[in-house]
């Protein structure tokens, strides 16, 4: 589904990713862990197509297409979903309006019919309830005045509604208390399917207790220096980055 070959990327003329390789097959859940500044968020942003990150070399294929040739919205319509580390506040744009716009825009790009308003409302209500998102929250402008946890739950709500094929979760656990973490993890887990893949970017092992990965990769200085199964995360938690880096 996703194949990254020798990816090099920079931000503000500073090289961050230095030859990253990663292959994700349908149904797999991959976790990327790494110290601060390793390039975790850069990877997420490059996948989504943020202009501030320049790709300097390498290839990314997504569903056998050249991802780097696609616009931001085309990537989204093809099933790329980024759960933002810092979801942005957009004053004046109601959350419901935004959800409807994005669902229908993606359907339109894929040549599907727009959802009728009653069907859309029903769907949102159902998913929102699952994530403990109140109707009052949905009436507010997008992310404006949301707490950190509310913003993250709103990200997962969008993920549930848009049903992407690849979910990239960028530090989704940061700023969440245990209860919120469980709600978010339940949401994510409900989406696991043989056709859907996930890329979980995290600093801590904690999230992986709730969302069990098939593969764990350790990213240091813009390269994956070690890969393994879920036990690698535990190893990392026990030994720390320093020892793993030294051993690798």
């Amino acid at each position: 589904m996703l194949e990254i070959k020798n990816l090099q990327a920079s931000v503000e003329d500073k090289m961050i990713l230095n030859g990253l390789n990663l292959t994700i097959n349908p149904g797999e859940v991959h976790a990327i862990m790494g110290p601060n500044g390793a390039g975790k968020s850069t990877l997420a942003n490059v996948l989504a197509g943020q202009d501030a990150y320049q790709v300097k070399g390498g290839q990314i294929s997504f569903h056998s297409e050249d991802l780097l040739e696609l616009s931001i919205e085309e990537r989204a319509a093809k099933g790329m979903f980024l759960s933002f580390q810092y979801p942005i506040e957009i004053p004046g744009v109601a959350t419901m309006t935004f959800l409807k716009e994005s669902m229908n825009a993606q359907r339109k790009i894929r040549g599907e019919d727009e959802l009728s308003t009653p069907n859309f409302m029903k769907l949102v209500k159902e998913k929102a309830q699952f994530l403990n998102i109140t109707p009052e929250m949905l009436r507010r402008p997008l992310n404006v005045g949301f707490s950190g946890g509310e913003k993250k739950r709103n990200e997962i709500l969008q993920m549930l509604l848009l049903e992407p094929s690849l979910c990239v979760l960028d530090e989704t656990d940061s700023g969440l208390d245990i209860d919120a973490l469980r709600v978010v993890a339940d949401g994510v887990n409900s989406l696991r399917s043989p056709k859907r893949s996930m890329l979980i970017i995290t600093h801590y092992q904690r999230l992986l207790d709730y969302i069990e990965p098939d593969f764990v990769h350790i990213l240091v200085d813009g390269k994956i220096i070690k890969s393994g199964d879920k036990t690698l995360a535990l190893e990392l938690e026990r030994d720390g980055y320093k020892n793993i880096i030294a051993a690798a």
Partner: protein, 433 residues
């Protein structure tokens, strides 16, 4: 100057009587001061003389039209869901035949200024308008010389007028035609009213319209005033409001400019009381070579008033938007809260914004502030929306609409809907997929 010749040519058609002396006074003012050029600070970005030099034709038109036709114009049709009293002004003349004064509620009076002056039945409180000698504003004096008609709208004491009065200014289109009108809004103590003001043209001809509003709001009265400019791309439109406000007044003035070639809304709002809350806001959507100017002075003369000027501009193509706002706080106006905010999004590299938020403060115990920003659409917001699959143009439209709707949000539902539909229409015309 063409203007003086035009006055001589047309003065016999204009209502004179009590107005005669004031026309002469104003004419003399213009003779000695001239029509302002950009050398006059408050017209620095809007050279009135240059614009005005093209006004040639001061004749009334004889165009025949029905109210149904006016109502079917897209920008008037936008108000279809609003129940309003239509008052039609055509080429500077009140047209009762096209208006529906039967809908006017009791205890509200509406008269033609021309008719009142001709019949010498002018209410005493308006007599000042024709007597006061020192008048230093160009638009005031230009309209004083040449006005043909106007309305006198009075809301009596403690009357809450629920039905909005919709003043529809129609230019019928004879090239270079110039029309002048003067209006008075008198809200008695504890009364309230909603006024909608729309400016449209029937043709694409060049037209010049100058309107002057005197707005006298008595104790604890409340005025909501929504203005729409959706004139054609050759229309010149200049409106001034002279506001005189008493204790406890609440003003909510919201303007939306989506049309016109060259327009300027200016105002001098005088706080002659305390405890008022003045909100003055405007949204400008400008494209092509439009020139849209909002220039207001709020003069806090007495203590404990709040004023907030808030303007948002979206400027595309080679258009030029202007905001000149000024808060004057006199020495006695302690505890003034005077705020100004001007925000602009430039959509093209040829678009232009000139912004001058000014504070002139003579009292110390005040909280005054202004902010101004200029920039393009927020890149991070665009990215977020696009990452959810929303195409670029749609994302831009969504963000601009959100930006502008902060101005129109305070309107009551149906009116807000009308404003929204006009904004949506502008956006779909200028940012199509």
């Amino acid at each position: 100057m063409a203007f003086f010749a035009a006055y001589d040519r047309h003065k016999d058609e204009l209502p004179q009587g009590v107005a005669e002396q004031s026309r002469i006074d104003a004419l003399n003012w213009i003779k000695s001061n001239g029509i302002p050029t950009k050398r006059v600070e408050s017209y620095h970005y809007s050279d009135l003389r240059r614009k005005f030099s093209k006004a040639q034709n001061y004749q009334m038109s004889d165009t025949q039209i029905s109210f149904a036709e006016i109502k079917s114009r897209p920008s008037i049709a936008a108000f279809d869901h609003v129940n309003y009293v239509p008052i039609v002004f055509m080429d500077g003349k009140l047209r009762l035949d096209l208006s529906d004064i039967s809908k006017i509620e009791e205890k509200i009076s509406l008269h033609s200024l021309g008719a009142m002056v001709t019949a010498d039945r002018l209410p005493e409180c308006l007599a000042y308008d024709f007597k006061s000698a020192k008048r230093d504003n160009a638009v005031d004096n230009l309209t004083r010389v040449m006005w043909r008609d106007g309305i006198i709208l009075r809301i009596k004491q403690s009357i809450a007028s629920d039905l909005p009065i919709h003043l529809i200014f129609v230019s019928t289109g004879k090239t270079d035609a110039a029309h002048f009108s003067r209006h008075s809004l008198l809200l008695a103590a504890n009364s309230s009213a909603t006024l909608i003001e729309s400016h449209i043209n029937l043709t694409n001809d060049v037209s010049f319209n100058l309107h002057h509003f005197t707005s006298m709001l008595s104790e604890n009265s409340e005025l909501t005033h929504f203005t729409l400019n959706s004139e054609n791309k050759n229309a010149v439109n200049i409106c001034r409001t002279h506001g005189i406000y008493s204790d406890g007044v609440k003003l909510n003035s919201i303007s939306l400019a989506v049309g016109g070639a060259w327009s300027r809304r200016e105002g001098d709002l005088i706080c002659n009381g305390s405890g008022m809350d003045l909100k003055l806001s405007g949204a400008v959507l400008a494209s092509a070579e439009q020139h849209v100017d909002n220039s207001y002075v709020v003069h806090h003369k007495l203590p404990e008033n709040t004023s907030f000027q808030r303007f948002k501009n979206v400027v595309d193509d080679k258009a030029h938007a202007i905001f000149q706002g000024k808060v004057i706080v006199s020495i006695d106006a302690q505890k003034t809260d005077g705020q100004q905010m001007a925000q602009t999004i430039l959509l093209s590299d040829d678009a232009e914004i000139s912004c001058k938020p000014e504070l002139e403060i003579y009292a110390d115990d005040v909280e005054c502030a202004h902010g101004a920003t200029v920039g393009a659409l927020d890149e991070d917001m665009l990215f977020y929306l696009r990452a959810r699959g929303i195409p670029l143009k749609t994302a831009q439209r969504l963000l601009i609409h959100a930006f502008i709707s902060e101005i129109t949000d305070p309107l009551f539902d149906n009116l807000k809907q009308a404003a929204d539909s006009l904004i949506t229409k502008w956006l779909s015309q200028h940012l199509d997929n």
